[in-house]
């Protein structure tokens, strides 16, 4: 019993994740990024419960107001509170970012692990990845939005249908970098002794992959995850900005920016808030990813 306690205490000091945290702490930009991203997430998640105005609460009498105490960011052309809309938009944008990232991570890890582990499938899967990498992604995304918007809207409702469409299309067009990195790491880990040991005691392929390989490729996956969120948020905003994203009355950051551009001459300050929200979120996630990469791989620190 005492042995066990001592052993766990010993493990604690040698814990890899503690090392990573110590390393991460020293990267000021990454820490700031993590804090800002956490604040943004908390604000958009809890804000709408506290804030008295609804994102779609129209009040035509107070339309086009500038910043005031009641409406810190002003109101839009229908008298909707801009702060409430930014928070509601952030919910959608960040949810889309997270879900699309999870999907692309799942696809990328699946293809990367299968390609790296099973030699027979390797060249075929990597050719497939290369083919996907040479697709013109933004035009294809726009085409997908155009073609599948109607059928999905009718079967799942306009908001849910669009959400599924955007998440799936971003997911299936952004898994390739993850797959490549994971495959490279799996190829290296597969040759190590502990895999040989696992196989020699009769471990099956599934067991080896889940127990031994996946935990060891976790760090590149985590770095891909942060960059994936940033990428997905930008892509969703770009689609909404081009008018091919969510329906008009459903706020997302890109859609709010697009709406604000119509009033560029009269109310130029309106484009600022959604744009700032997108940029700040993406910037903080990128810093977070940078710090995470440095912390997880000490060899490339400071690059």
């Amino acid at each position: 019993m005492t042995d066990n306690v001592q052993l766990s205490a010993l493990n604690k000091t040698n814990n890899k994740w503690l090392d990573v945290w110590n390393e991460f702490k020293n990267h000021k930009g990454a820490l700031a990024g993590a804090i800002i991203f956490a604040l943004i997430v908390i604000l958009v998640l809890l804000g709408p419960f506290v804030w008295p105005y609804e994102a779609n609460g129209i009040n035509i009498r107070i339309r086009n107001q500038g910043p005031s105490l009641a409406h810190p960011l002003g109101t839009d052309q229908l008298g909707r509170d801009t702060l409430a809309r930014i928070m509601a938009g952030g919910r959608t944008s960040i949810t889309v970012g997270l879900t699309a990232m999870l999907l692309s991570l799942f696809l990328g890890t699946l293809i990367g692990v299968v390609a790296g582990y099973f030699k027979k499938l390797d060249s075929a899967l990597m050719r497939f990845t290369d083919l996907f990498l040479s697709l013109p992604l933004l035009p294809l995304l726009l085409v997908m939005m155009l073609l599948f918007r109607e059928p999905l809207s009718t079967s799942f409702g306009p908001e849910k249908g669009m959400f599924i469409l955007i998440v799936v299309s971003i997911g299936i067009t952004s898994w390739m970098p993850t797959a490549r990195i994971v495959r490279g790491d799996v190829l290296a880990i597969k040759e190590r002794e502990f895999i040989l040991a696992a196989r020699s005691i009769g471990g099956t392929d599934t067991k080896i992959i889940f127990r031994h390989i996946l935990p060891n490729v976790l760090s590149p996956i985590m770095v891909s995850a942060t960059l994936g969120i940033a990428n997905a948020i930008i892509t969703e905003s770009a689609l909404s900005f081009l008018g091919l994203g969510f329906p008009p009355d459903f706020p997302t950051w890109g859609r709010l920016l697009n709406d604000a551009v119509d009033y560029l001459q009269q109310f130029p300050e309106r484009v600022f808030w959604p744009g700032l929200a997108i940029s700040l979120t993406v910037l903080s996630i990128n810093y977070l990813g940078d710090g995470l990469r440095d912390a997880l791989d000490p060899r490339i620190r400071g690059r």
């Binding site: 930009g29 290369d130 083919l131 040479s134 697709l135 013109p136 992604l137 933004l138 035009p139 294809l140 726009l142 085409v143 997908m144 155009l146 073609l147 599948f148 109607e150 059928p151 940033a230 930008i234 905003s237 770009a238 900005f241 081009l242 091919l244 890109g254 920016l257 604000a260 551009v261 560029l264 001459q265 130029p268 300050e269 484009v271 600022f272 744009g275 997108i278 940029s279 993406v282 910037l283 990128n286 810093y287 940078d290 400071g302 690059r303």
Partner: protein, 335 residues
């Protein structure tokens, strides 16, 4: 090297065909009717004839084959005829836009100069800014310049063009009134005044696109320089008593440029993708805006052709990057 290039060229053909098939199937299998906009009063048999006139009556593989032949065989002939006044393409079916009823390639050729002018200029400007920043911030790692440079490139990397574009319009066109917010493509440069106007209207779109390029390339340049600065041959060069300039500009820089050059080549197609958004923001009527218009108008042949042209660009520049890498770095020869 030659065998390698030939092999890569041969491999590019199935890649392109696969991408063409992907785009074609995506567009044609989607539940989407190009006749949806036609009035209900038109009788069904007339409607059927209209479908056939658009080339929709035939089975899918015939449609695909026809499109491939038109794209790879007829359109180059038209181009050849235009260049040398021959008549190879006479009487051959070209790819027609449903929107304007004119050949897609003619519109593309009209639109392409604007895109190339803005995109090409922004890429060159971006590279010219990025390289010195990357080199100097690697040389003075952790200095104030490096810290500021890294932060600025990170910001440039994170701010999407549809915000930076709108932001500079608000700042320089709406508030200060210095620069025109809409790009006037009919504007012709004939004298100094018109040249100045052209310069003023190009600054914003070019700088917005260049910001993205700068951010990516200077980060890459910096890390590539850092890789080389700590190598043994640099110490040898210094020990020999070479001047600092010779060490950095000749020895280190030339070696660091190898991966950067390939990244520059690989980035060219993606800048066309970014141009889609920038063109929309600044109302440049280039090829990206044509694509968006065609998407809104449900004009499948145009969408298909332009999307495929983007794919050709990507495959072509991937090839260039691979070959450049082999030429620049003799250690990596793929024979």
């Amino acid at each position: 090297m030659i065998t390698y290039i030939v092999r890569r060229l041969l491999l590019a053909i199935p890649t392109l065909l696969f991408i063409a098939a992907c785009i074609f199937l995506l567009l044609n299998l989607a539940p989407n009717d190009p006749m949806a906009q036609v009035p209900m009063t038109i009788p069904p048999d007339v409607k059927e004839k209209m479908r056939e006139a658009l080339g929709l009556g035939q089975p899918l593989h015939v449609q695909f084959l026809k499109w491939v032949i038109q794209f790879f065989w007829v359109e180059p002939q038209v181009f050849f005829d235009y260049l040398f006044n021959t008549s190879f393409s006479e009487g051959k079916q070209r790819i027609f836009s449903w929107q304007t009823r004119s050949p897609v390639m003619d519109i593309v050729v009209q639109r392409l100069p604007q895109t190339l002018w803005v995109v090409g200029m922004s890429y060159i400007v971006g590279i010219l800014i990025a390289l010195p920043i990357g080199i100097y911030s690697a040389y003075r790692q952790y200095s104030v310049f490096d810290q500021v440079g890294t932060f600025v490139t990170m910001v440039g990397y994170s701010v999407p063009p549809f915000f930076s574009g709108v932001f500079v319009i608000v700042l320089f066109s709406v508030q200060l009134g210095w620069l025109p917010s809409v790009y006037d493509t009919l504007h012709e440069v004939v004298d100094w005044e018109t040249f100045k106007y052209q310069f003023r209207q190009m600054i914003m779109p070019v700088m917005v696109l260049a910001l993205q390029t700068t951010a990516q390339i200077s980060r890459f340049m910096r890390s590539s320089m850092l890789d080389n600065l700590n190598q043994d041959y640099v110490r040898t060069a210094r020990a020999k008593g070479l001047s600092e300039w010779t060490v950095v500009a000749i020895h280190v820089l030339r070696n660091s440029m190898i991966p950067v050059v390939t990244v520059i080549a690989l980035g060219i197609p993606s800048i066309f993708g970014g141009a889609i958004i920038t063109e929309q923001v600044f109302k440049v009527n280039g090829i990206g805006q044509q694509l968006i218009n065609a998407i809104y108008a449900n004009d499948l042949p145009t969408v298909q052709t332009i999307t495929f042209m983007f794919a050709v660009l990507i495959v072509f520049f991937n090839l260039i990057a691979d070959i450049l890498y082999g030429i620049l770095d003799p250690r990596i020869r793929y024979d």
